[in-house]
């Protein structure tokens, strides 16, 4: 069974999706990601989709789901590295992923998460 590796960077988790996902994998990913967030007390989740050339409605919904789940577990989700063609397709499909934060690359994504966590700490 293929597994998508979840890497830990400080208090963030990095998920790099490099193969086309199917239903089973997506459910497994949601399962193991939520488990890991709880285990590691992660505050941020980075999902790198720079290797994906096709993102359909299925993956789009999965990204939305992961973002919502992480929010419940008090972690910020940032989707990074979306390709231009993928962005256009998603917009044409009407999937504008309103609940998901985005950044250009992993570097920017980490900065964004850091800023979000700091903002959250100030408000608390």
């Amino acid at each position: 069974m293929e597994q998508i590796p979840i890497l830990r960077i400080g208090d963030c988790l990095l998920v790099s999706i490099q193969v086309d996902m199917h239903d089973r994998m997506a459910i497994n990913l949601q399962d193991s990601l939520t488990t890991r967030i709880v285990e590691t007390n992660a505050r941020g989740v980075l999902i790198d989709i720079s290797a994906l050339e096709i993102v359909g409605s299925f993956i789009g919904r999965m990204l939305n789901n992961i973002a919502s789940m992480s929010r419940v577990l008090d972690a910020v989700t940032v989707v990074v590295g979306m390709r231009p063609a993928v962005a256009i397709t998603l917009v044409e499909l009407g999937l504008e992923l309103p609940g998901v934060k985005t950044a250009l690359n992993v570097d920017r994504g980490l900065l964004l998460i850091r800023r979000q966590i700091d903002d959250g700490a100030e408000h608390a």
């Binding site: 979306m82 390709r83 962005a87 985005t102 250009l104 920017r108």
Partner: protein, 301 residues
């Protein structure tokens, strides 16, 4: 068929040169001076082609193989005229001006046999009308080709993405936004965002004449796509009249918008933690501090 065009075939065989001369003279009245030289050349080729078709006994069918040369001559002259900006009428007259000399020749050849003359005239008229229509089709096609090329060039020209600062892009839009243009604009913007690692894109719509619901939707699509890539968009340059129309139409752009590019740029700088400083004010301040320090030092002495 052969019976219908018997006389024409004979004329072409016997006095091709005379017919051509009479035709070229006729064209002087209808064509522009600049294209007369070329027209004479094309006419010679066309008459040659016509003769080839007559000899192959295919005068009735202008799409036939024997007409290849004559058709080529017509294609050349029509596209030539289209490029020179001639009117469709002028182009059609190129073929129709052959009628005069041709009918004269037919009358001479038929002599007293009016039945034969009428038959020949009818057959030739049908043939020349077909050729005239063919010319118009080619003319139209060449014009459409010109228009299509210009459209493409316009599309390329009108979507520049410029970098204002590191991480800040500007996209000045000029002209109406339709779905085709939006696609091109979106693609070039997204590609530049990746290339320049931009965080903020300013879409300036000063040059967009009207913003209706469709245009607004296209703009929003571009903004959403940029957001998915991780870049924020600011819309600038909404003119007063456009703001009014948008409100009247109930169009809502739920994005950050600024009245002009300068404000948008200032906002972009601020949100990327940069600021623009007025050097003269700073220098004066520094000078004042220095003077105060100097006078203080003088006081100590």
């Amino acid at each position: 068929m052969a019976a219908q065009h018997g006389v024409l075939t004979k004329i072409l065989a016997k006095s091709q040169g005379d017919l051509l001369d009479a035709w070229v003279k006729e064209q002087k009245g209808v064509l522009k001076v600049s294209s007369q030289g070329e027209a004479a050349e094309h006419s010679r080729k066309f008459i040659d082609g016509l003769r080839a078709a007559a000899e192959a006994d295919q005068l009735g069918d202008i799409n036939g193989g024997a007409w290849a040369q004559a058709r080529q001559a017509l294609t050349d002259i029509s596209s030539d005229q289209a490029l020179k900006g001639a009117t469709p009428g002028e182009t059609a007259m190129f073929v129709f001006s052959l009628k005069g000399p041709l009918f004269a020749a037919l009358a001479k050849e038929a002599g007293k046999d009016t039945d034969a003359f009428a038959r020949e005239v009818w057959a030739s008229t049908v043939m020349l009308d077909k050729l005239g229509l063919y010319t118009m089709e080619v003319f139209q096609k060449s014009r459409e080709e010109v228009i299509r090329r210009q459209q493409e060039e316009l599309l390329e020209l009108s979507t520049p993405v410029v970098q204002l600062w590191s991480g800040i892009l500007a996209l000045p839009l000029i002209g109406t936004l339709d779905s085709g243009r939006t696609q091109v604009v979106m693609e070039s913007l997204l590609q530049e965002i990746v290339k320049r690692e931009a965080e903020i894109a300013i879409i300036d719509i000063t040059g967009v004449p009207t913003v209706d619901t469709m245009v607004a939707q296209h703009l929003l699509k571009t903004v959403s796509a940029a957001r998915l890539m991780g870049a924020d968009c600011i819309i600038s340059g909404i003119r007063p009249q456009i703001a009014q129309t948008m409100v009247h139409l109930g169009v809502e752009l739920n994005v950050v918008s600024k009245a002009n590019m300068a404000d948008a740029f200032a906002l972009a700088l601020r949100s990327t933690n940069r600021k623009v400083v007025d050097r003269t004010a700073k220098d004066k301040e520094a000078a004042a501090i220095k003077a105060a320090a100097a006078s203080a030092a003088a006081g100590e002495d």
